[in-house]
């Protein structure tokens, strides 16, 4: 049976329990928790000892966080007890959508992956704390548009109402975290011949 009510859609075999909602929001404010979830998401089948080797938090905290993520349904532990091997973990995709004062914002693993790098890039925490999560999410998405050539950095600053200095720092962070951009050895060089076919509106010159 599937459901399609006002608040519950596509519940599959039944309305599965969603618990630990605070863990979802904690992913935005706890970079260590975000880091653990992101590592599991990027390395399906990773074990707890492997995680402990790669994070800066204590072994006890790693296991506390694993239990917390598991209770919230954000990760699943493979049944290893019968096989006698070390447990492995896999992350579940999710999307937490909020609508506040008419603005819709979605919390997704992609944004959590950026939060996970807050210690490395202080601008992430600065934007979230000083301007709020909606502005952070907006700037994040616009930077992805920038990587597709659809917007300039100064246009991002204007649309997100952030200083260009802040945007430059955030651009560097998001590009590095998501590995955006191409792998060319040299910058792309455009000449007049290369862009001669670019249409330009005529009304300014009429």
């Amino acid at each position: 049976m599937s459901y399609d009510t006002e608040h519950v859609r596509n519940a599959g075999d039944g309305p599965a329990r969603i618990t630990g909602l605070s863990t979802f929001t904690a992913l935005l404010t706890n970079p260590d928790l975000a880091d653990l979830y992101t590592r599991i998401r990027r390395s399906a089948g990773i074990t707890a000892p492997e995680l402990i080797d790669h994070v800066s938090i204590s072994k006890k905290t790693v296991y506390d966080y694993l239990h917390r993520l598991e209770r919230a349904g954000l990760i699943v532990e493979a049944d290893a007890k019968s096989s006698g091997t070390t447990s492995t973990y896999e992350a579940e995709a999710f999307e937490l959508a909020l609508t506040i004062r008419g603005i819709e914002v979605s919390i997704t693993p992609e944004l959590v992956a950026v939060i996970a790098h807050s210690a490395e890039y202080p601008v992430i925490t600065r934007v979230c704390d000083e301007h709020g999560f909606v502005v952070f999410a907006l700037a994040h998405d616009l930077i992805k548009d920038h990587s597709e050539g659809e917007i300039t950095i100064r246009q991002i600053a204007e649309l997100a109402d952030l200083s260009t200095g802040t945007i430059y720092d955030l651009v560097e962070a998001v590009y590095a975290i998501h590995d955006l951009g191409d792998d060319a050895e040299a910058p792309t060089t455009y000449t007049p011949d290369d862009v001669a076919g670019d249409e330009r509106r005529s009304e300014l010159t009429d």
Binding site: D145, H146, S147, G149, E150, I151, T152, I153, R154, Q155, E158, L159, T164, G165, Y168, V171, E172, Y175, A176, L180, G181, D182, A184, A186, P187, T188, T189, Y190, T191, P192, D194, V195, A196, D198, E199, R200, R201, L204, T205
Partner: protein, 191 residues
């Protein structure tokens, strides 16, 4: 018969490139200084770029990215442009101002969000046209991490009869740290 000297090559550099290199002194800035000398060029920035990189929290305001290069004479800050965005295009006759309008419009046309103010972006294009207007034997190379702006730099000057322009786009932006401060990037390729 005497050989004709090669045209002067000017390099116009956008804010993001200097941000990527970091504040002076640094090994990247030193590499840039040496590359500029070896390439026989100068770096030009529009006033808007200089202002974006200025630390106005200090008294007097200080530009930690550009001031040492300006003092040494290998970075040049252009004098302010006349006109503003509120003036109607029809009343403008100066090619430099016209180029700025056209670049602003071109950037919005190529943008996913076509209602933004691109006046500072457009200053990079306007500076290229000004250098062409003021120098008869000149080539211009522009450097930015914005693809639309890179295309505008190559697209707009030919509308005023200036074709000796190469526009370099660094993607991702942080690659400029290694790829910009080189003789190769600062030299005319003429492809």
């Amino acid at each position: 018969m005497a050989e004709t000297a090669a045209p002067y090559t000017a390099n116009i550099v956008d804010t993001v490139i200097f941000r990527t290199l970091g504040k002076a002194p640094s090994e990247h800035i030193e590499s840039l200084k040496q590359a500029v000398a070896a390439a026989g060029t100068e770096l030009w920035v529009p006033p808007a770029v200089y202002r974006e990189l200025t630390d106005s929290g200090q008294e007097p305001p200080h530009n930690p990215y550009l001031d040492s290069g300006v003092a040494d004479g290998w970075i040049r800050v252009a004098t302010p442009f006349s006109g503003d965005r509120e003036t109607s295009y029809e009343s403008v006759t100066d090619p430099v101002q016209q180029a700025r309008y056209l670049a602003d419009d071109y950037l919005n046309q190529g943008s996913k969000y076509p209602e933004t103010n691109n006046w500072r972006d457009a200053a990079v294009v306007a500076l290229a046209v000004r250098l062409f207007e003021e120098n008869t034997r000149i080539r211009v190379i522009t450097h930015t991490a914005d693809e639309n702006l890179a295309r505008a730099c190559a697209r707009i000057p030919p509308e005023f009869g200036y074709y000796d322009i190469e526009s370099r786009h660094y993607n991702p932006p942080q690659t400029a740290k290694q790829r910009f401060p080189t003789v190769e990037s600062l030299s005319w390729h003429g492809k």
